[in-house]
Amino acid sequence: MKFEHYGIGVAKGMALTFKHLFRKPITTQYPEERLTVSRRTRGNELVWDKERCTGCATCAKSCPEGCIEIITSTGEENNYIVDKFEVDMGRCIFCGLCVEACPFEALFMGYAYERARYRRQELVMDKEGLLLSGERQPSGYARPKIEAGLPRQTLLLDRDKVKK
């Protein structure tokens, strides 16, 4: 193999890297700087609406991993009473099929992403743990009404200057 370009190829590349020295770094300094995630983000931990849930277990049937466990009993008005609604978030693959399947919009994907735990047992969420709370907000995945109210996602694309 010959040096066909007399080193011009190397020089061109060096010029490009030098140009990058003056570009703004794209790093996000995570704990201080935070990006807004997508409105449809499939974040950690499902959020469950106790009032709307009828205990039909469609979500459990649609889960590919089988990580949703529902036990119901029959109530006075011939309805289901949800005795147990347990999700093993350690097995969840965040595919969102359960949320899509829910006919009563009682299940949401989470909007949070900082829900790491030290122990696997803590990842098993029971009825109380799945309820909506301050740090457990629902995301707009498959829920257009919630999606409309969430802030705009930050995009790396917005940093590019578009050449006209």
Binding site: L16, L97, L157, V162
Partner: protein, 367 residues
């Protein structure tokens, strides 16, 4: 005096910086020259084919994400095409266009990783890789906007896609499409003419045309050897027959050609996305499909041109809710057949870049 020498065996992998996963090559070396190579696979074998036999057709879509995790959209697409073929489900036109846009974005993202990792194997200390990851990040942002995940999208559904795109997607995509060619030019400026890359990659690891066909290579590996074969053109699926694009082909089939083909394919993908956005019709994005799909008894083979080659899903239905047989024609597994022929006689350093130029994803190879 003749020195007595003997070849020695060296294990490259399964833990090695440039095996792109848990691949292992048993190289037999004579000095630095490779005498023999034996690929050892299976470190990431999860039995997806068996798992899929126990899950419904819809539940299998997230599993396809986990085949080639650098090109999940393409995997989704290939799988849903196979199921739609099996069950005869129509797809709304808007969904077809969305699928094409996503698949092409995914092709760019996957090639960025492939080319970046290849250049990193050549020894360009992370710089091209990071430049390419920057652009990939933008694509991942777009995917996140559409489907809420950055790696395992689970976006395509049987009979369409899971959601329509949000309002801010098209402006952002337009921005991406406008800036991307400039960045591809930058990659060319960075290394395409670089003497060292030329010296390293040109003429190295040649895969002749006939051999490439005989070993069933596909994707850039096949096209790098000069075979004009792209399933998007040869057997158009979705709406590719309405879009104009070229098939870049290499001339000799060396590592540089494969690299070059990937760079050119990115340009073509940008072109396809432009056209698809222009033609994008309004309307529904999903046909109503029963939750538990019972396709009629039979079998179907759906294949697409995934970034790494021809990805096919062979499904056999016995009219139950789960596939009776679920087979993945993994492009990179079959491309690996060429490894031995390409490698023998080259040096250790070449082994790494020849391997890198095939651009494999171990999750797909081992399944």
């Amino acid at each position: 005096m003749a020195l007595k020498t003997e070849p020695f065996v060296i294990n490259v992998g399964p833990q090695h910086p440039s095996t792109h996963g848990v691949f292992r090559m048993r190289l037999t070396l004579d000095g630095e020259v490779i005498v023999d190579v034996e690929p050892v696979l299976g470190y990431l074998h999860r039995g997806i084919e068996k798992l899929a036999e126990g899950r419904t057709y819809t539940q299998n879509i997230p599993f396809t994400d986990r085949l080639d995790y650098l090109a999940s959209m393409s995997n989704n697409l290939a799988y849903v095409l196979a199921v739609e073929k099996l069950a005869g489900i129509p797809v709304p036109e808007r969904a077809e266009y969305l699928r094409v846009i996503m698949a092409e974005l995914q092709r760019i993202a996957s090639h960025l990783v492939g080319v970046g990792a290849f250049l990193n194997d050549c020894g360009a200390f992370m710089t091209p890789l990071l430049y390419m990851f920057r652009e990939r990040e933008k694509i991942l942002d777009l995917f996140e906007m559409v489907c809420g995940q950055r790696l395992t999208y689970n976006y395509m559904r049987i009979g369409g896609v899971s959601h329509d795109i949000p309002a801010e997607f098209l402006p952002a995509l337009d921005r991406f499409v406008t800036t991307m060619p400039g960045f591809i030019d930058e990659y060319d400026q960075l290394l395409a003419e670089n003497e060292i890359l030329l010296a390293r990659a040109k003429g190295v690891g040649i895969l002749p045309e006939e051999l490439a066909i005989n070993i069933s290579a596909s994707g850039p590996v096949l096209r790098g050897s000069g075979v004009r074969w792209d399933i998007r053109k040869a057997d158009p699926y979705s709406v590719y027959d309405r879009l104009e694009f070229d098939i870049p082909t290499g001339s000799v089939g060396d590592c540089y050609d494969r690299y070059w083909v990937r760079i050119q394919e990115m340009r073509q993908s940008v072109r396809i996305i432009r056209q698809a956005v222009e033609q994008l019709p309004p309307g529904e994005v999903r046909t109503e499909v029963p939750h538990l799909l019972h396709p009629p008894e039979g079998e179907a083979y759906g294949h697409i041109e995934a970034p790494k080659g021809e990805l096919g899903f062979y499904l056999v239905s016995d009219n139950s809710i789960a596939p009776y047989r679920f087979h993945v024609r993994a492009p990179t597994l079959i491309n690996l057949t060429a490894l031995r022929d390409m490698m023998i006689g080259w040096k250790v350093a070449d082994a790494v870049i020849i391997f890198g130029s095939i651009d494999i994803c171990l999750a797909e190879v081992d399944r």
